[in-house]
């Protein structure tokens, strides 16, 4: 074999090495000129020639996607501008990873991003977001729910505009509560009491008490924080001390553990996410459910088994505890700092967050706007009759800790919270370990 290979000679070229080199250099020089021209054109393109804005967003679930209509409207008002929407996977971890890799790699392949509310501070701290303060006065945020503002204005500047709102709420079986002459519970103690009474009277072994999300993921952080808040605990105090009221934090976890031990919650809540628990409740197999407002539309769908039998209320607090605490969630809109069209991108974000655009999105889909006034708008209420109630719940929502290290914090807390729920650690131990690890990890990160 090798003998035959060695006999093969490359064809002798008539071009000498020097000539070849000259040709290559010329070609390279030409390329540089062309590239420079291209950059020059697009760089100044905000005023002349066609401009394309790229908007990266999570897949919008719901009956109809209202985004394309909004994009066309923006294009109509800004002649010569095209907006291209590109949707990412529905998985929030994947979205985060996509943004992080591209932004850290200094990519400018997109201009505007839909951000989970807990990422805003992180992206702002990393220098990935354009400071919107020159275009957006602080007062422009006032019509949005209060809990959306702290994340949007981390460190005193405006980094993102609130777009979609979420809040943890308590769903209850209105028919069962009415039958037993009960009001939606205001405290966890009352909730447990109601579950015991209803189940004793119904004699249905397949009827569970209260469902929530205890799988080891972000949903667990949310559920555990709500329990800790309800019990008067906090994650941080002013000086950055973690779990300053240690006993109260442990008490919050103990409350969740007690729900499982007593059978008020089925043991599988430790593996449940939003959809798992939502389906079970939707099958009519639980009295209470903690979830986000999106579930209401599904419960009221024509094929739903619990249609017309579900009510929505604030999450319970505790006897002698603090006011009830429901976590906020949702999405903000931010601009890539490396965008070539900062002016336009800011205008686009302001347009999407405007009352008009948010109204169009809400009427056309199953999305909750961040503008408070829309919850009493006549057209909106016609398609979403529960909105006035949802408004009052959202008003009381509380953001998860606003810190650039949020994901680090949450992924440190999750295993400890999970350990307390499944009984591997006592609540106090779990809080103690969580505090120690988080303190170590967050040291020097501000």
């Amino acid at each position: 074999m090798s003998g035959t290979i060695s006999r093969v000679r490359p064809p002798v070229s008539k071009v000498t090495a020097a000539q070849y080199f000259v040709v290559r250099v010329r070609r390279a020089a030409l390329l540089v000129v062309v590239a420079a021209l291209a950059v020059g054109c697009t760089g100044g393109g905000a005023e002349s020639g066609p401009v394309t804005l790229v908007f990266k967003h999570a897949k919008i679930l719901g009956p109809a996607d209202p985004v394309p209509g909004l994009l066309r409207e923006f294009e109509r008002r800004h002649p010569g501008v095209r907006v291209q929407a590109e949707s990412l996977s529905w998985n929030s971890d994947d979205q985060h990873q996509f943004f992080v890799i591209n932004l850290e790699g200094r990519g400018a392949a997109f201009d505007v991003m839909m951000l989970d509310v807990v990422w805003v501070a992180e992206f702002a701290r990393a220098g990935w977001l354009l400071d919107l303060s020159p275009w957006v006065a602080r007062a422009e945020l006032d019509p949005h729910f209060p809990s959306t503002i702290e994340p949007a204005t981390w460190n005193g500047r405006v980094w993102a505009l609130p777009w979609l709102m979420n809040v943890g709420v308590l769903y209850y079986r209105a028919d069962l509560l009415a039958k037993h002459r009960l009001e939606p519970p205001r405290t966890w103690e009352a909730l447990v009491d109601q579950v015991v009474r209803i189940r004793a009277a119904e004699r249905d072994p397949r009827l569970d008490g209260v469902l929530w999300q205890g799988r080891q993921y972000e949903g667990l952080t949310v559920n555990a924080l709500e329990a800790i808040w309800a019990n008067g605990g906090r994650v941080f105090d002013k000086n950055g001390v973690i779990f300053p009221e240690e006993e109260r934090a442990a008490g919050g976890l103990a409350l969740l553990r007690a729900l499982i031990v007593s059978g008020v919650s089925p043991s599988w809540v430790t593996a449940a996410d939003e959809e798992l628990s939502r389906r079970h409740f939707g099958d009519g197999r639980a009295v209470f459910l903690r979830n986000w407002p999106y579930a209401m539309d599904l419960f009221q769908a024509e094929t739903s088994r619990v249609r017309g039998r579900v009510g929505i209320a604030a999450l319970p607090g505790r006897v002698g505890g603090a006011v009830t605490a429901m976590s906020s969630g949702g999405a903000h809109l931010g601009v890539n700092r490396r965008t070539r069209h900062p002016e336009l991108a800011a205008a686009f974000v302001r347009f999407l967050a405007s009352a008009e655009a948010q109204k169009a999105m809400t009427v056309g889909g199953a999305l909750n706007p961040t503008r408070m006034a829309l919850y009493h708008d006549r057209d909106v209420v016609r398609s979403h009759p529960d909105f006035p109630v949802v408004h009052d719940l959202m008003l009381r929502a509380r953001p998860r800790p606003v810190t650039p290290a949020y994901l680090m914090l949450s992924s440190t807390l999750q295993p400890e919270f999970s350990a307390a729920l499944v009984g591997v650690k006592s609540p106090r131990q779990a809080i103690e370990h969580a505090r120690r690890r988080a303190t170590y990890l967050l040291e020097g990160l501000q």
């Binding site: 060695s6 990393a126 205890g214 089925p266 994901l407 680090m408 650690k425």
Partner: protein, 291 residues
């Protein structure tokens, strides 16, 4: 060395060069880069980037979460590979005896292996579903909390992994079994060997090499197990299913601790290399014994 041989050698080197460059660019360079990263504290969100030497490794040495992940990884690898080995071998031998429907059996066997792992994950998510899952239904409506109970979650994942990759072992063994000449079995029969003796003294020794290769592949895969945990449990409950690669992913991609996450990655790499080296030693020895 003659001139012709020297020329051959030169051409050989030239022809090898692209492969070496590709290997260097794709394997060696990123590997060294990860090693270099692991010696730094590097958190881009906070603009932190400085050399810290081996301090991440020192932290890992006393990090309970790391040792837990190591334990989970080793248990997962050992148990799932052992089960795959036993079941795969059994299936291959059964196929050998099968007279009719062999093709159908092989096709069915290929199915779980050909499915994308996320699909497998979702399938098992439904099988293990606490209230609507097939498994609990078959167990008479039991309310077993497969993925949310600390003692059950890892076994549940191992079962899913065995279902998915046992066919790989079975098919490799079956392919080897097909090449065993029937005369050998005839000779065994003439010598009065029973069914068990035939398997023990004829089939198994002939399968040794292919089994070692299958074990090597499976062990290396299992040590890097990620997707099933990621889809089914997220590492929970209480980190009882968090493997080293899940821990590395959380540190690297989810929380962007590039230095610390890389240190875990390096540990996984060393572990995989050590196991691979061990297998290669055993294989070399087996080779010598048969030679």
């Amino acid at each position: 060395m003659t001139a012709r041989e020297r020329a051959d050698a030169r051409v050989g080197r030239v022809m090898l060069a692209p492969a070496l460059v590709a290997l260097g660019a794709l394997a060696a360079w990123p590997g060294l880069w990860v090693l270099w990263l692991s010696l730094q504290r590097r958190i881009p969100v906070f603009g932190i980037e400085h050399f810290v030497g081996p301090s991440h490794y020192a932290f890992l040495a006393t990090d309970p979460r790391f040792w837990n992940a190591m334990e989970v990884t080793l248990i997962f690898t050992f148990v799932s590979v052992a089960l795959e080995f036993l079941l795969g071998l059994t299936v291959a031998l059964a196929l050998q005896r099968q007279r009719r429907g062999r093709r159908l059996a092989v096709a069915l066997l290929l199915l779980p292996w050909a499915l994308p792992s996320v699909v497998t994950g979702r399938t098992f998510e439904w099988l293990y579903h606490p209230s609507a899952g097939l498994l609990n239904f078959l167990l008479g409506g039991a309310a077993i909390n497969w993925l949310g109970e600390p003692g059950l979650a890892l076994p549940a994942l191992i079962i899913a992994d065995v279902w998915r990759t046992m066919p790989f072992v079975a098919l490799l063994c079956y392919a080897r079994v097909l090449t065993i000449p029937p005369e050998i079995y005839e000779a065994a029969r003439v010598d009065g060997a029973g069914a068990i003796a035939t398997v023990r003294d004829v089939t198994l020794p002939l399968l040794q090499r292919v089994l070692l290769i299958a074990l090597l592949f499976r062990s290396l895969d299992a040590l890097r197990a990620f997707d099933l945990m990621f889809v089914l449990t997220g590492g929970g409950p209480a980190n009882t299913t968090e493997t080293l690669t899940v821990y590395a992913y959380r540190s690297l991609f989810q929380t962007l601790q590039l230095g610390f996450g890389s240190a875990i990655g390096v540990v996984v790499f060393v572990l995989v290399m050590a196991v691979a080296w061990g297998y290669l030693r055993v294989m070399a020895r087996a080779e010598e014994a048969t030679a």
